[in-house]
Symmetry: D2
């Protein structure tokens, strides 16, 4: 996929693409049909691999026909029935409702997004660990409210980035783990499935129904919880985790953009291959990855808010609009997170650190940025250095970097 | 275009599609080159129709190459140069910057969206006028905070919808009228163009430069204002107008959805052709257009907020991320507005009004909903009707509907 | 009022304070009672000045009792009745509904906010005009995507700020002009008022009712339109105008903050009186007004989005939650806009421009920032200056500044 | 506190009030001074209980003076110094920066909010468990997209509410547990504290510094992590948890509002004491708690988005605006969550369930809502009941309710 309006979109490949959703929906139908047969609710003759019955070429027709009923499951089922024929046609989708298929497919594609985001986060943790350790004692000026404040080290700055990235990663891990299949039937009671069990004369129809859902969930690699047709926390939790990722990346990108300013020049993105060039100014070397990551960070919170508004207004046993607002919102958020994550990884792996410039800037502000230190010395009645060395006023830098790196190691081990 | 995640998306056709943006960008480059030649800043031999040099087939390559510089103009210019050859290749894009081309192309495609939205708004005003006049005296119960309150008429309800729609339409008209071309050069001074005029030895280089911009703007059918690289009101005003449209449509759709509830049944969407059907419940007739319109109304405010955040953080002479966040946000907002507008038109044109059910519901609540009237009578010491007729307690209904219809007529005349 | 969580809040004085809302609500009730008497719908003996019957001391009790019915009008009416006594007690609030009183009071207090914001905008336009004219030829480097690009002048930068501020001001003027009174009765038909006219045996009860609303609206200084209980464009339009203001101010403040960076130092806020100081670093001079204005600009879009969500979900003849969400949202947005507007005015009036530093920075980048100029010369086969002067490559600066200043003059004349 | 614009605000008492923030800030200063003395970094003579030195009466002056430096800590420190006198005056705030004090105080007051919210959530879980068990077999019609679909039970509906509430509660528990103290000094290196240790000639200055932070954090009951001046996940995680709460409550309130509609009447809020009354329509019984809770749910997502925007744009070693935007946003979100939580608890504890009406509505739709069942029977070639009983088509209701109740019990045990 490409998107002229969102340069870099192809980094997300086919994640949450139309074709990916279609494939996931077909997989849900197929797995459910299997489960019906496995639990003796449908005859063996109904077994069929439905996933092979649709292809990306079907997207257009299904999308067009989706409007009539408000979702793409209805035309998908029609298409699957016409292609499967026979007993499979009669039995597929029995017990399910459109929302089951769409929500579960959404969860499957979202799971792929979260996994890919987690890959990027791991790569970033590694890149940041290297930077933090390398620059643990690289002095630079600390800036607050845009002004030189007191000295710090680049390692300390990187440690803060690292904590933000791991904080976000922990939310992604939780969100992915908790993603459930949606298997509830028309209003969340699985009544049709239970009815099948009853009509088949099976002992313990409820037990058989529960087993059917578990079987399907297991085949999809998803948790099976109670139906959550109108309790949308699984999706808002994932959305919040993704927005927290773009926050963390936006934080890094904003610092890189600032420190890359012509007048500051302490950091630079890796150039080459035309990266960062201008259409009319050949001398320019724009921090283009930072710019594109910041873009995503500015656009994500509004998408997260929409997911919450949808959750807060979900009503009845299937919402009349809020549910429909979630799909594309989540897709946009998911793909953009992958793109921004990939760009952040590349940014960090190629980051050029001008330690000499950092040192020179600090030295030029040496008197000012040691004002706090003089205040402390005054407090104890000590004299001041006549020739102050700002690089020695960096406090707990060593411990801070060591602590952050230790946390990074633990995170990487636990999420290998 | 189709979008499995946003059923109905094809209603927006190619509006603000990748291909439409590419075509608009090529048009901007072409018109500017023409203007350079027209004002004797470029040689006659440089004249070329650049729009024919790119096609939808180029979208993918340009989109892919757009990431490197952060926007699609850089690869577009490269491509145009390679295909135009000769003097055109040397002269095209001279005086412009990427932001000029992208912003102006965005404005052109947005203009098409606003025009299409205005078409829908006009159709809605007509449909609503018909409904308001037909049902000026159709009594129904008025509801506040979900409870029966006092009587009203369906014509009064429709008048409120109508006012909301015209209020929104007036904002769309303003926003479209005020959309300016962006023609400023690298930092908004048009320095390269003025330099060309100077080097050519033209008298009044500034005047020639201004004329060049005016010529180009006129050819594009756009207002020419000063460069607005970081003053983004033209775009937020358009975005706010679009969100106000989805608000107005969401208001209508919400009322239709409520009044279509099985227990209320006073309104229904036109069915037929599978519209509103269910995958498992053949008796259902869902208000699917209302549902899809509500979806858009819930998702739009977050997009509008992003446009404002981008505007508020636009810095320097070209923003480092906020600008890039606008493009896709505006595209999504624009296309969804067209889809929702089209669905609202269809909804209103096919709306089925069950006046008998309205009357019956009102009659059943007659005693309660006349409590206010009794209070007024008590105040004057009058007795009460023993057999109250709630249909006679509808106040200014006649004037309200007449006023709304009069406003609609004026609007339609002024925006024919 | 003070607010420890929003430093500077006292700049908004009592605008949209609890006391201001209470006073406005009492004024609406009083004006309506007058209108009833004036149109002979209530007896002369019912005339009373209700505004004197409540004071700021009543806020607490009314606020506490407001929860029971969901809005403060119910306890206010009870209180007014108990204090007014006699015929006034019997007649006050007749024909109105809670939403009429609250919405109209909200509009009145919002009108005060918009007027105050407009005062600030006018002062800013004056300050910006002075800056633009003074610095029309003050050369500085233009920056795009954080990097030095080509030369510009500070006057050109200020002109862009000025256009943004006037664009916002025009929206504020429109929004204020269009603010309507809300006078519709229980469900927007003014039925109780019309009933009064009928029972009084007045000829043309509808005409009398319309006259009553007009009389009240005129006394309040507000437009009288049809009831708009669920068509909320008057409020979203005002909210969008306010957010557009904070965008424009955030744009200015962001540029000031950037150009105040220690490494750049081209601009500085006026210091003195402790402004911009630090708790531990005596050398620091933080751009604190810019910081506080940016704060408002970042927080406003979310509030604007909430107003739209409320508008989009307004249903029935009075919304079940969306209406209630608007009040505090609008108050917060209104007060913060006033505070940020006042801070921006102060910022602009005291802005220190270091023209020497601007010149030095530009000179240091002279070769790079003239790359575009060399490209143009190459195109014509001209040689390059051996000793380039970047201050002569500023294009249309003169026209741009003159145009912006002209627009400012027109705006100030039309909005004196 | 009362708030005329947000009825019910007094339910939040003094949580996150100006006075509470002031008290918390003084507590942070006091605890830190203690820690300095405890670790022998300040003399025993400097020990003082600073919390007693300021009262609510100081709020106004501090708020007013807060604007000058952009935050209230600077005037607070001045005030504390003037009142403490002696060695305490000299030593207090040494090693800290404004952001440490404000962030930690914010965290402390937020912690109180989260605890109170958790109290409400526990009460809701209890109320919901009772409802779910009581109504496990109470049949009602299930509704999808506003239309009658198939039968369900009220216990199943309540189970979905319950899952949403517990999902939200788990996020609150996590967010509260992870709230860290902010103790980093001017740029997050704790340099001044380490300098004190060095100047005092203490062995292992870094160790002493770390111990000082730990001592202070322990005294505050907060986790001590590395400084997180610009890594704002602790706050966005808490904000997301609060928004997820208002989502869950909005979901419940929306269902109650719908099911309380005059035409549906299956649920009603407890009335009495004027609750739910109207200013002009004595017969009305509005679902006012639901309305007020929905209000909060609609307004919360925009506030959550602002917290994320602030996090995403946090830069340098202290952000120039994003930080300042967080305080009031978090306060508003926190207080509103407490109010909405308390209202939801009251709503659930007093909910009136009209089981007869539920049964009657279901019975009236019996034929339609059993269409799915007939489809299943057809599939197996079975005949249909001539006299269908919709109450027997409720699928897994028993298991669903039992599972939800079991989860509730576990939650209550683990969060007693």
């Amino acid at each position: 996929m490409t998107d002229l309006f969102w340069p870099g979109d192809e980094r997300a490949g086919s994640l949450m693409s139309d074709a990916a959703l279609l494939e996931a929906m077909a997989r849900v139908e197929s797995v459910w049909l299997d489960a019906l047969v496995d639990r003796a609710l449908a005859p063996e003759s109904a077994r069929a691999d439905l996933t092979g019955l649709v292809t990306a070429g079907d997207v257009e027709a299904i999308a067009r026909d989706a409007e009539s009923g408000g979702n793409p499951v209805i035309p998908l089922v029609t298409l699957l029935r016409s292609r499967a024929g026979g007993e499979a046609a009669r039995w597929l989708h029995r017990g399910l409702t459109s929302q089951d298929v769409l929500d579960t497919a959404l969860v499957l594609t979202l799971c792929d997004v979260l996994s890919r985001v987690l890959d990027e986060l791991r790569s970033q943790v590694i890149a940041l660990t290297i930077l933090a350790e390398r620059h643990v004692w690289t002095p630079m000026v600390g800036r607050t409210l845009t002004q030189h404040a007191v000295p710090t080290t680049f390692g300390t700055v990187v440690s803060t980035w690292l904590d933000g990235v791991i904080d976000a990663a922990e939310l992604v891990v939780d969100a992915r783990t908790l993603l459930p299949a949606q298997l509830g039937g028309a209003v969340g009671t699985l009544a049709a499935t239970a009815e099948l069990a009853t009509l088949h004369g099976l002992a313990d129809p409820d037990g058989v129904t529960a087993e059917t859902a578990l079987t399907a969930g297991r085949a999809l690699g998803l948790r099976v919880h109670r139906p959550w047709h109108t309790a949308r926390v699984p999706l808002t939790r994932a959305a919040d985790a993704l927005v927290t990722c773009t926050d963390a990346w936006g934080h890094v990108a904003g610092d890189v953009a600032t420190l890359s300013r012509t007048e500051i020049g302490e950091l630079a993105e890796l150039s080459g291959g035309g990266r960062g060039g201008s259409s009319t100014m050949p001398h320019k070397q724009n921090p283009v990855l930072s710019v594109l990551v910041r873009r995503a960070a500015l656009a994500a919170p509004g998408l997260g808010a929409t997911m919450h508004t949808a959750s807060a207004t979900a009503g009845d046993q299937r919402p009349d609009g809020p549910w429909h607002a979630e799909w594309a919102t989540l897709r946009t958020l998911g793909r953009r997170a992958v793109v921004a994550g990939s760009q952040t990884t590349e940014l960090l792996q190629g980051l050029r650190v001008d330690t000499a410039r950092m040192a020179a800037t600090l030295e030029a502000s040496a008197h000012d940025v040691l004002a706090e230190r003089r205040g402390v010395a005054d407090l104890l009645g000590d004299g001041h250095d006549s020739d102050p060395d700002p690089t020695t006023y960096t406090g707990m830098t060593g411990d801070i970097v060591a602590g952050a790196v230790e946390r990074a190691r633990t995170f990487l081990e636990e999420n290998a």
